[in-house]
């Protein structure tokens, strides 16, 4: 259906002598309604009167007409011109009056707390959280006061056993990838047996802890921050606080503990899964027996290297849990806030792991570990 131009909503400015009128014509229900400010710009210069009467001879209208008039009135008021609505149909002028009355006073402008965007205050908040965490851990050892009613079993199962399958898969495939790279390169030198060294050392020293960390960030960190975020939104964290129970002691410490205890175990498991992955590549490709491969793997990894990797994973776990819990506990009290907190915890968690690992690599090099 083509709407004839004659019926499209139009606003014309009619000037007869001293007086000005705005005449609205057309079908204000169907066609595209002109924007008030745009119309006003077109009339710039021809607006001579202080008061303008609005006349309406439209075929049909809906709330867009009222919105147009309200916009027009506001824009004209800025220029010192008033709009006279006395000629409007009764129901339309009632509608406009109602809208005018309904306009809330500007007491509720959403002024954002500027300070929370400041770098220094952000840093201070994070340091404060780390301090609180350290204090609570200190309390834990001093008073031997382990918060009751946290559901440690569920936490340990969630962090540990339930993470096993995905860790196994990821680590096995990481071992496979390393095995392939090593096999292709080392075959050129005829040093195929050393693929075992490559895979074992890479897994034990770096890949197992990093892969465990990344999987735990995605799996557990996201869960932690979403859980704590919705607890905050639902007032559960406030409810803890009002009983004098420290949210950090009750919610953060158990999670940090669970993850820090489970991650090293997962990391050890990951090393073996990675070695198995490498073996799955090497055995069919070269004339190497499984015993040979396993012997070569185990003899290449020193205890120090192994402990270094496993220790790193515990450190990463503390980082992940602390970041995830913090972002959950400070999240905005809304569904969107919980989502943002989860995203933030995963992004920050992975970044923190990689950065920490780089620092560890430099330190290890300096300290000859």
């Amino acid at each position: 259906m083509v709407v004839s131009a004659d019926f499209s909503p139009q606003a014309r400015l009619v000037a007869d002598g001293e007086r000005c009128r705005i005449v609205l014509t057309g079908d204000w229900k169907a066609g595209p309604v002109p924007a008030a400010r745009k119309v006003l710009r077109e009339w710039e210069g021809s607006l001579s009167a202080d008061a303008i009467t609005v006349e309406i001879s439209v075929d049909a209208w809906d709330s867009r007409l009222a919105a147009f008039l309200l916009q027009l009135k506001e824009a004209l008021a800025e220029k010192g011109t008033s709009l006279n609505f006395s000629q409007l149909p009764k129901n339309l002028s009632k509608l406009l009056q109602l809208a005018k009355r309904g306009q809330a006073k500007a007491i509720a402008d959403p002024d954002l707390d500027r300070e929370q965007f400041g770098f220094t205050s952000a840093l201070r908040d994070r340091l404060a959280f780390i301090g609180e965490l350290a204090l609570e851990i200190g309390q834990l050892f001093r008073r031997k006061l382990i918060p009751y009613g946290v559901g440690y079993g569920a936490l340990f199962r969630q962090c540990g056993v339930e993470s096993l399958p995905i860790i196994a898969l990821i680590s096995f495939l990481t071992g496979t990838i390393l095995g392939f790279i090593g096999a292709v390169q080392l075959a050129a030198f005829g040093a195929t047996i050393y693929v075992a060294n490559l895979v074992a050392i890479a897994m034990a020293r770096e890949m197992a802890s990093i892969m465990t960390g990344i999987v735990l960030t995605g799996r557990i960190g996201a869960t932690f921050s979403a859980t704590l975020g919705s607890m905050r939104t639902g007032g559960e964290i406030d409810a803890l606080a009002t009983f004098g129970l420290s949210p950090v002691a009750f919610l953060v410490i158990p999670r940090v503990l669970a993850l820090a205890l489970m991650a090293p175990l997962l990391c050890i498991f990951s090393v073996f899964a990675g070695i198995a992955g490498g073996m799955a590549v090497v055995l069919p490709m070269f004339q190497i027996s499984a015993t040979q491969y396993i012997n070569q793997s185990f003899s290449s990894v020193e205890l120090g290297t192994f402990c270094f990797g496993v220790g790193k994973s515990a450190f990463f776990a503390i980082l992940i849990a602390a970041i995830a819990c913090r972002s959950g506990m400070v999240c905005e009290r809304s569904a969107v806030g919980v989502g943002q907190a989860t995203t933030r915890s995963v992004v920050a968690g992975i970044t923190a792991i990689i950065v920490a690992d780089a620092i560890f690599a430099v330190l290890a090099e300096r300290l000859h570990i």
């Binding site: 209208w61 809906d62 149909p89 009764k90 129901n91 339309l92 009632k94 509608l95 109602l98 009355r101 007491i107 509720a108 402008d109 002024d111 954002l112 707390d113 918060p147 009751y148 009613g149 559901g151 569920a154 607890m231 639902g234 007032g235 559960e236 406030d238 409810a239 803890l240 606080a241 009002t242 009983f243 004098g244 129970l245 420290s246 949210p247």
Partner: protein, 269 residues
């Protein structure tokens, strides 16, 4: 209903000012709540009731002024890094805010267990079951918060709030979103708790019938003047308050909004 009680106040608020960012929410709020009194804090949405509550509970700091809750200043505790005044109050948050990962029994027994370390497990469980039975939830001990209705969750949260027999009970919109019958049962429960324990109740609500039914006095917070406009028994407020916003709040008129007939006309252009 007595306006003044010759009892030591359990909660005293003096010249409290609340700001959010740079915006002032309330200024110069002063009132006190006596032991065993049911005190309502009322006012339009957005007038600062919930912000006031958070300050009374010691969850937020006031811009200025002092609060004394059972002889302790919650703001001072908060500044020192403490979170709350143990034993001195119980809170029913909006929607209950039960700990969703725990059963009702665990919800009620957690505060008891953490404050009365000398109690045996059986004692704690018995006490928690008793508290749940008080609010009419006997037999629901092993249910989880997501398995019960909104009204039951509200009652369970009251059981948790009274777990430590606090002298003051804060209730934040206890009847919001509940049907009239359940809301009345809650009111009844609040009255009974008051008469059994002598608990002072600070009630934050919009529910007119509940305000009239149970509160001894009410404080009206006004958004326009950002102040505590009036403290009086609700019946008195409804009938002869000198303040227009208070009368509007209690009255069934729609202030200066158009009459019903005009609204009907408007919908047919």
């Amino acid at each position: 209903m007595e306006t003044e009680r010759q009892v030591q106040p359990v909660l005293t608020v003096t010249e409290l000012a609340i700001r959010r960012g740079n915006r002032s929410l309330l200024e110069g709020v002063s009132f006190s709540v006596a032991q065993g009194e049911i005190f309502s804090i009322i006012g339009a949405s957005g007038c600062g009731k919930s912000s006031l509550l958070r300050i009374l509970l010691g969850l937020d700091l006031p811009a200025s002024g002092t609060v004394r809750l059972c002889g302790v200043d919650p703001a001072k505790l908060l500044r020192q890094g403490g979170v709350a005044v143990p034993h001195s109050y119980g809170v029913l948050f909006q929607e209950g805010a039960l700990w969703t990962s725990m059963s009702l029994l665990e919800n009620v027994s957690l505060p008891i267990r953490n404050y009365h370390r000398e109690f045996s497990d059986e004692e704690i469980t018995d006490l928690a079951i008793f508290k749940l039975a008080l609010v009419g939830l006997g037999g629901f001990e092993n249910f989880y918060p997501n398995q019960i209705s909104g009204g039951m969750a509200r009652r369970a949260a009251i059981a948790r709030a009274i777990a430590l027999d606090p002298p003051v009970l804060f209730l934040d919109e206890p009847s919001a979103g509940l049907d009239p019958v359940t809301a009345r049962q809650l009111d009844e429960l609040i009255l009974q708790l008051r008469s059994c324990h002598g608990t002072a109740v600070v009630l934050i609500t919009h529910d007119l019938s509940s305000i009239r039914r149970i509160s001894d006095r009410a404080a009206f917070l006004d958004q326009e003047s950002r102040s505590l406009l009036e403290i009086a028994p609700p019946a008195e407020m409804a009938e002869r308050s000198p303040h227009r916003p208070v009368r509007d709040f209690f009255g069934d008129r729609l202030g200066n909004w158009p009459k019903k007939k005009a609204i009907l006309q408007r919908v047919t252009p």
